[in-house]
C-alpha cells in the first residue's frame, strides 16, 4: 500500500466515516445452503454453510433463543486433487478401512478378516528391503510430498466408521461425480451448533457475519426427531462392497444433498399398521434458486418394499413442490425410501430433510378461521390425529393470519394456517349451487365454505344499491387450501359483471405477494354496483377439482382500504456515520392510495430514517437508514408504517424480506423473520441535507440541493452521482458552498410529469490512488464509492 493511498483512505475514513463500498457491494458475504439445514433439540453437531466471501467470519447469528453456533473453520473447496494428494488420501483410506473392517470382523458382522477387495496385510512377513526407487518408495515419497488436502470431510478421520470412510472416498474419487463448480457456494464454513433441549422447534434464521458484514438469512430448523445424515454411495444400483449399514430406526429425520444423477436410498424397518408420514423439506429450505430451473430442488419420493417393488410415490403435495407420503405399512419388513431430483439435477444447495415418523398430520381444516375474539372450533382430519377438532386462537391483537397444530404424545403436527378477522362470519349451507331469488347473506360478511366435490359451485346472493362499491376476496391458497378459486359476480339476470381467476400483484418480473407461492390462485373482484337489486357471487375451482380440503374464506364487503409493507433487504450492512438505502414495497389493499409515514419502532440510540414518507399512490420507494454514533453494532430493527384511513390511524409493521430471483428471470419478495443491521465503527453522521422538506423541481427546470459537510479537502474532492434515479432526473453543477456542497437536480420535461414524488439516492464517489500506474506511467486513479447521502425527497412541479 502506498503512502498516498494510505493517507487518502485514512483521511477519508477519519473525517467522514464513510465506507468504501464499490467492491464491497458486490463482495458482500452471502450464503446459499446449510447442511444439515437443522438439528435436534438438545444436541451439538457440526454443519456446513456454503456461500461466498466468507473468509473472515466473526460471528454466527441464529434467530430466536436456544441455538448457539460458532465457527470451526473456513474452507475454499478445491476440486483439483493432485496425484500426490490422491495417493496419500487413498493410502490413508485403505489403512483405516482395513482397521474398521477388522473391528467388524471381531464383532462378527463380517466373515472375512480383511476386506476381500484389498491386498491382505502381511505384518508377520519380513519385508525385503525395498529397492532404490521402487514403486513403493516412490509412493511413500509422494505421500510425504503431498500438500495436505483441506476439506471438512477429512477431519477426525480416525473416528470415522467404515461407511463414513466410503463416503469420503466417494466424495473425492467417485467417477460418477459430476459436480459442477458454482462460485456462489464455493466456500464453506464449518460451524458447531448447539441446540438447547428446550429450544422451540420450527424454522430459525441463520446468518453469518464476515468482517462485520451480515450475510442473507437461511432457513435453519430445530427439530424433535433423532437425526442422521446420508452417506454415499447410497444409490439403488450401487453394489457396495461393504456390509449393509444398520436399517434406520423410526422415527428419524434424514439430512441429505442431491448431486447430479444422484438417487439416495434409505432402508428402514417397518411394522405392520404403522401409519407413516414421510415429509420432505427441500423447497421449503431453499425456496428460490436464481440459476436453476424451475428454481428449487424438485424432490421425488419413492417407497419400495423388500423386493424392490415401488409401493408408493410422490413428487409434490397438492400445490407444494415438496412431496409428502402418507402410508400405512402393510406388513413387517424392510422398506427402502428413495429420494432424488425429478430431472436428476443436483448440487450442494440441493439440500433436504426427510422425516419418517408417525407424527400427527392435518390435511384439512374447516373453517379456515373465525371472528376475532369469538371462540372458534374447527374440525380437522388427517393422519395420526388424536382429535377431530381444534380450538383456534382468535384473541384480539394477534396477526391476521395465524398458525395452529395438534400434539400427540408431545409430537406436533404440521402447522396449519387460518385467518382471524373483525367482520361478521357465516358458513355456507348447501345446496347453494345456483342463484337464489332472495339474499342468502348480508354484507359485510365472510363466508366460510368449501368446494366439496369436483364441479361444485357455491353461490351467495345479496342486495346492493346503485353506486355501492363491493369487494369479493378469496382467502384460500394463502391458507394452504388446494382450492384454485374462480370468482364471478353476476346481476339478477345472470349477466357477469366481473370475474377473476388469479389476483397477482406483479411489477415487471417481480412478484410482490409475499412468500414462496408461485401460483397466486386466490381471486379478487371489485365492482361498482350499477343499479339497486339482487347480485350473486359465484365461487368454484378453476381446475374443476374439489373435496373436503378445498376450503375457502370469501369476504364480500365494501372496500376496506389497507396496506402491507415489505422491506428489502433483511440484512443491512453499514458504517457508522453513513446512510444506507433500503427499499419499501407497498401492497395496497382495496384501493388504498394514501401516504404512509415510516418510523423505527423503539430503535437503539443512533439509528434514524431519512425521507421516510411514502407519497400517496407510490407502491415502491427507496429511503435511507442512518447510524450516527450508534449504541449497538448489531441490532434487530423494526419499522412500521402509519397511514390515515377513513379518519383512523392504521399502523402496519413492515415485513423484512429479500428480493430473490427464481430461474434466471422471475423475482420474489421472500419474507424473513428479522431485519438485522450490522454497523462498523462508531462515527457520527457528518453529511446532512441543509434544507428540510422535499426539493421541488420544476418539470424542465432545476432545483438546488445544499449539503452540509465538514470543511476540508476530502469532501471537496468527492463526486456525487444519483443511484438508480427515476427516469428523467439528473444531477449536475456540483459546487462548493460555505456549508459544504451544492448541486442541481434537473427534471427532463419529456421524461417526467408534474406531480411525481419520490426519493433520490445520492452516492458519494472519490478517486483514490491505488499505487498503480497506467500504460503511460501516470497514476492510475480508481473511482471508489464511499457510501450515500441521506435520501432526498423530491417533487416535480409545473414549470
Amino acid at each position: 500500500m502506498t503512502g498516498t493511498y494510505k493517507r487518502h483512505l485514512l483521511t477519508g475514513l477519519a473525517v467522514c466515516a464513510l465506507a468504501a463500498v464499490s467492491q464491497a457491494q458486490t463482495r458482500d458475504p452471502h450464503i446459499g445452503f446449510a447442511y444439515p439445514a437443522g438439528g435436534r433439540q438438545g444436541t451439538t453437531f457440526t454443519a456446513l454453510v456454503g456461500g461466498q466471501f466468507l473468509r473472515n467470519i466473526n460471528h454466527i447469528h441464529v434467530s430466536g433463543d436456544g441455538v448457539q453456533a460458532t465457527l470451526i473453520d473456513h474452507y475454499k473447496i478445491n476440486r483439483n486433487v493432485d496425484k500426490e494428494q490422491r495417493e496419500a488420501l487413498t493410502a490413508q483410506l485403505q489403512e483405516l478401512t482395513q482397521t474398521r473392517w477388522a473391528e467388524l470382523h471381531a464383532a462378527g458382522i463380517v466373515k472375512q478378516p480383511h476386506p476381500p477387495w484389498m491386498k491382505k496385510p502381511t505384518p508377520n512377513k519380513v519385508k525385503p528391503p525395498a529397492k532404490a526407487d521402487s514403486q513403493a518408495e516412490k509412493k511413500n515419497r509422494n505421500n510425504e510430498k503431498a500438500k495436505p488436502l483441506k476439506h471438512p470431510l477429512l477431519l477426525d478421520m480416525e473416528d470415522k466408521s467404515i461407511w463414513e470412510l466410503a463416503h469420503v472416498r466417494h466424495e473425492f474419487f467417485a467417477d460418477r461425480n459430476k459436480k459442477q463448480p458454482n462460485a456462489q457456494i464455493s466456500e464453506v464454513a464449518l460451524i458447531k451448533v448447539t441446540i438447547a433441549p428446550d429450544a422451540v422447534p420450527g424454522n430459525r434464521e441463520l446468518r453469518l457475519q464476515s468482517r462485520d458484514e451480515l450475510t442473507n438469512p437461511l432457513i435453519f430448523q430445530v427439530g424433535t426427531l433423532p437425526e442422521v445424515s446420508e452417506l454415499e454411495p447410497n444409490d439403488p444400483e450401487k453394489s457396495s462392497r461393504l456390509p449393509d449399514p444398520a436399517p434406520l430406526k423410526l422415527p428419524v429425520l434424514i439430512n441429505g444433498q442431491v448431486y447430479p444423477g444422484d438417487v439416495d436410498c434409505f432402508r428402514f424397518q417397518g411394522h405392520r399398521g404403522q401409519r407413516l408420514v414421510i415429509d420432505v423439506h427441500a423447497r421449503r429450505l431453499v425456496p428460490f434458486l436464481a440459476d436453476a430451473v424451475p428454481g428449487w430442488l424438485q424432490a421425488t419420493l419413492s417407497l419400495c418394499d423388500a423386493q424392490g417393488k415401488e409401493i408408493a410415490f410422490a413428487d409434490d403435495y397438492r400445490f407444494s413442490p415438496d412431496p409428502i407420503l402418507l402410508y400405512e405399512i402393510p406388513e413387517d419388513g424392510y422398506y427402502e425410501l428413495q429420494v432424488r431430483d425429478s430431472i436428476y439435477r443436483g448440487r450442494e444447495d440441493f439440500v433436504y430433510r426427510i422425516s419418517i415418523s408417525e407424527q400427527p398430520f392435518i390435511n384439512q381444516l374447516f373453517p379456515l378461521g373465525g371472528p376475532e375474539g369469538t371462540r372458534t372450533v374447527a374440525t380437522v382430519s388427517g393422519w395420526n390425529l388424536p382429535q377431530s377438532d381444534l380450538v383456534l386462537d382468535t384473541e384480539p391483537g394477534g396477526p391476521a393470519i395465524r398458525q395452529a397444530a395438534i400434539f400427540r404424545n408431545g409430537t406436533g403436527s404440521n402447522p396449519v394456517a387460518y385467518a382471524v378477522d373483525t367482520l361478521p362470519e357465516c358458513q355456507e349451507a348447501e345446496p347453494n349451487d345456483r342463484p337464489q331469488s332472495k339474499p342468502s347473506i348480508t354484507l359485510p360478511c365472510i363466508v366460510n365454505g368449501r368446494i366439496s366435490e369436483p364441479g361444485d359451485l357455491d353461490v351467495f346472493s345479496f342486495t346492493a344499491s346503485a353506486g355501492d362499491e363491493i369487494v369479493a376476496d378469496v382467502l384460500a391458497r394463502r391458507l394452504m387450501s388446494p382450492l384454485d378459486s374462480l370468482l364471478r359476480l353476476t346481476d339478477a339476470s345472470g349477466k357477469v359483471l366481473q370475474w377473476n381467476d388469479d389476483f397477482v400483484d406483479k411489477k415487471g418480473h417481480l412478484y410482490r405477494d409475499m412468500g414462496a407461492l408461485t401460483h397466486h390462485a386466490d381471486s379478487h373482484l371489485r365492482v361498482t354496483i350499477p343499479e339497486t337489486g339482487l347480485y350473486h357471487v359465484q365461487i368454484s375451482d378453476a381446475q374443476n377439482q374439489g373435496g373436503e380440503a378445498y376450503s375457502y374464506r370469501l369476504r364480500i364487503s365494501p372496500p376496506r382500504p389497507d396496506f402491507s409493507l415489505h422491506l428489502t433487504p433483511s440484512s443491512i450492512n453499514m458504517r457508522a456515520g453513513s446512510a444506507v438505502p433500503l427499499q419499501v414495497h407497498v401492497l395496497p389493499k382495496d384501493g388504498f392510495d394514501g401516504p404512509i409515514e415510516l418510523r423505527l419502532i423503539d430503535p437503539p440510540a443512533g439509528f434514524s430514517l431519512n425521507a421516510a414518507t411514502i407519497p400517496a399512490g407510490c407502491d415502491r420507494m427507496r429511503f435511507t437508514l442512518t447510524a450516527s454514533e450508534p449504541s449497538q453494532t448489531q441490532a434487530i430493527l423494526r419499522i412500521e408504517g402509519r397511514a390515515l384511513i377513513k379518519g383512523q390511524t392504521i399502523t402496519r409493521q413492515a415485513t423484512p424480506s429479500d428480493d430473490v430471483m427464481q430461474a434466471f428471470l422471475w423475482r420474489h419478495l421472500a419474507p424473513a423473520r428479522d431485519l438485522m443491521v450490522s454497523v462498523r465503527g462508531k462515527g457520527r453522521a457528518r453529511a446532512s441535507l441543509a434544507d428540510s422538506g422535499p426539493v421541488r423541481i420544476p418539470a424542465g427546470g432545476t432545483a438546488q440541493v445544499r449539503v452540509k459537510t465538514p470543511k476540508g479537502k476530502w469532501f471537496r474532492e468527492i463526486e456525487l452521482r444519483l443511484n438508480e434515479p427515476p427516469t428523467g432526473i439528473s444531477l449536475q453543477n456540483q459546487t462548493e458552498i460555505p456549508e459544504g456542497l451544492a448541486f442541481d437536480l434537473k427534471a427532463d420535461p419529456d421524461a417526467v410529469q408534474a406531480g411525481l414524488a419520490d426519493n433520490l439516492i445520492v452516492e458519494i464517489f472519490r478517486q483514490v490512488d491505488w499505487g498503480q500506474k497506467d500504460a503511460k506511467g501516470n497514476k492510475a486513479l480508481k473511482t471508489v464509492s464511499f457510501g450515500y447521502l441521506p435520501a432526498i425527497p423530491i417533487q416535480i412541479t409545473t414549470q
Partner: protein, 445 residues
C-alpha cells in the same frame, strides 16, 4: 417453453429420405400456393442465407454496440472499442478482424422485441411472430419452402442445412411440417473426418457399407417377393437416394480436407471456424439456407472469461467468411445474418450468484447483416448511452426477416400456406397497429 415438442428435432438424413425431401413425395397440404408468394416477389438479389445463430444471446455491448462511456459497471474490462475501416463505426476491441471488414456489413443497433425468455425470444426472432395458436416456420423453413425442392432446387443436399446441432428451442418447420425441417449434420467439422449424420460414418469404409447393403438385400425376402409393390418401390427409391448421398458428391461436399490447410487455418481450427468454411462450401453448391448454431453465448456467469475465449474465435471465422465470400464473388448473392434471440443485460451483474455475468435482454440488442443486397459500412438505429433502450429507429425482428425474404425474392406480403387454410402472409405487419411490415430500406441496395 417448447412450442411444439413433437416437432422439436430436426430431421435426420434417414427421415429426410423417408419424407421425400429429396424429391420423392408430393406436398402434404400446400398444393401450388407457394408459387403465389413467388409471383408477387421482387427479383431475387440473394441466392443463399448463412445464418450465424448466436445461441443464448450475445452481448451487444461487448460485440457491435460498445459503450465505453457508460462506465465499468456496463463495460467491465472491454472498455476500449476500436475503429473499423469505416469512419465513425467502432466495435469491440475483441473483434479486430471484423473491424477490417466493416465495409461489408451493416450493424443494426436497435433490435427490440422485449422478451427475455430463450424459447419465446428465439421464436420471435426467427419467425417474426409472437407465439400463438399456430406454430410458424422459421426463416430457414420459409426459404426452404419457397426456394427449395418445390421450386427447382436440385442440390446435392437438402436445401436447409444446420451446422451442426439442432435448434431445439422450437420446431424450425412449424406448421409446414417435417418436409421443411432442416437437415442437421451433427458431428464436428473441426474433426477429421467430419462425421455427418447418416452420410459419413466413423470407422466404416465404403466397402463395408456396400457389403452391409448387399447383406440387407439378401435378407429382404419380402421385398424380393413383391418387387412391384408401390411401398417397396418407394423405399427402394429412398434407399438409392441415401446411398447416392453416402457415396456420391454429397460426401465430397462435406469433406473439408478438400480445402487447403491455409484456408482452413484462416477460418480457425475450431468448430465454429470450420462450420463457417463448411457454410461457404454449401453456398457454393447452391444450398439456399444454412444455419450455424453457434452455442455458448448464454453467459450468466463468467461472462468476460467466456468473451475472452469466444470473441477471437468468432472474429476470425466471421471475418474470414465475409472476406472469402467477397473474394469468390459470392457475397453479393449471399446474405450473412449474425444475431441471437436477444442481447444481454447492459448492466453487469457483479453480485452473487452471477459474479460478473450478463442477463437476458430483449429490449435492445444488435444484429448484423452483410451481402445479398444489404449495404455494408452502415449502422442502422441506435441504442441509448448505456445500451439499455432503443434510442433511434426501433427494428422488430419481423422487419429484418421481411427484408431478408425480399432480397431472396420471397414476397413478405405473399400468402403463407398453412394447414388451417387461413389467409396468412409470409410476414405480417405490426400485429398491434395493423401497419404493413416495414423493410430495412436504409441498408438495402
Amino acid at each position: 417453453m417448447t412450442l411444439n415438442p413433437h416437432h422439436s428435432n430436426p430431421i435426420s438424413r434417414r427421415e429426410a429420405l423417408k419424407l421425400g425431401l429429396l424429391g420423392a413425395a408430393g406436398l402434404p397440404f400446400l398444393g401450388a400456393k407457394p408459387c403465389l408468394a413467388q409471383e408477387s416477389a421482387r427479383p431475387a438479389q440473394a441466392k443463399s442465407v448463412i445464418q450465424i445463430w448466436m445461441w443464448g444471446g450475445p452481448s451487444h455491448l461487448d460485440t457491435f454496440d460498445p459503450k465505453p462511456e457508460a462506465g465499468y459497471d456496463y463495460c467491465g474490462p472491454l472498455k476500449n472499442p476500436i475503429a473499423t475501416n469505416v469512419d465513425g463505426i467502432r466495435i469491440s476491441e475483441s473483434l479486430p478482424l471484423l473491424a477490417k471488414q466493416a465495409d461489408k456489413y451493416a450493424i443494426i443497433r436497435s433490435m427490440s422485441h422485449g422478451n427475455n425468455g430463450h424459447e419465446t425470444a428465439s421464436y420471435i426472432t426467427q419467425t417474426g411472430r409472437q407465439p400463438g395458436r399456430l406454430v410458424y416456420p422459421c426463416a430457414g423453413a420459409v426459404v426452404s419452402l419457397f426456394k427449395g425442392v418445390d421450386h427447382g432446387y436440385k442440390g446435392l443436399v437438402p436445401p436447409y442445412i444446420v451446422l451442426t446441432g439442432p435448434q431445439g428451442r422450437f420446431s424450425e418447420a412449424g406448421f409446414l411440417g417435417p418436409r421443411y425441417k432442416p437437415f442437421a449434420t451433427g458431428g464436428d467439422p473441426n474433426r477429421n473426418p467430419f462425421l455427418v449424420e447418416g452420410i459419413v460414418a466413423q470407422g466404416i469404409s465404403d466397402q463395408r457399407q456396400r457389403s452391409r447393403r448387399d447383406l440387407l438385400h439378401g435378407l429382404d425376402t419380402l421385398g424380393q417377393a413383391m418387387p412391384h409393390d408401390p411401398q417397396f418401390q418407394f423405399l427402394d427409391r429412398c434407399e438409392r437416394n441415401a446411398y447416392d448421398l453416402m457415396f456420391g458428391d454429397a460426401k465430397r461436399l462435406f469433406d473439408l480436407s478438400k480445402e487447403t490447410d491455409q484456408m482452413r487455418d484462416r477460418y480457425g481450427r475450431n468448430t465454429f471456424g470450420q462450420s463457417c468454411l463448411m457454410a461457404r462450401r454449401l453456398v457454393e453448391s447452391g444450398v439456399p439456407y444454412i444455419t450455424i448454431n453457434y452455442k455458448g453465448w448464454d453467459t450468466h456467469k463468467r461472462h468476460f472469461e467466456i468473451m475472452r475465449q469466444k470473441l477471437p474465435e468468432m472474429d476470425r471465422a466471421m471475418a474470414t467468411l465475409l472476406q472469402d465470400l467477397a473474394e469468390r464473388g459470392l457475397l453479393d448473392s449471399t446474405i450473412v445474418w449474425w444475431g441471437g434471440e436477444f442481447g444481454r443485460g447492459p448492466k453487469i451483474q457483479w453480485e452473487s450468484p452471477w459474479n460478473g455475468g450478463r442477463s437476458h435482454y430483449g429490449k435492445c440488442f444488435s444484429s448484423v447483416v452483410a451481402g445479398g443486397g444489404f449495404k455494408g459500412g452502415r449502422v442502422l438505429g441506435a441504442s441509448d448511452t448505456k445500451g439499455m433502450e432503443v434510442a433511434e429507429r426501433p427494428v422488430h425482428p419481423r422487419e429484418l426477416l421481411a427484408s431478408i425474404y425480399e432480397l431472396m425474392g420471397i414476397a413478405p406480403e405473399g400468402p403463407m400456406p398453412n394447414p388451417l387454410g387461413l389467409d396468412i402472409k409470409v410476414m405480417p405487419g405490426n400485429e398491434d397497429s395493423g401497419q404493413a411490415c416495414g423493410r430495412l430500406r436504409e441498408i438495402m441496395a
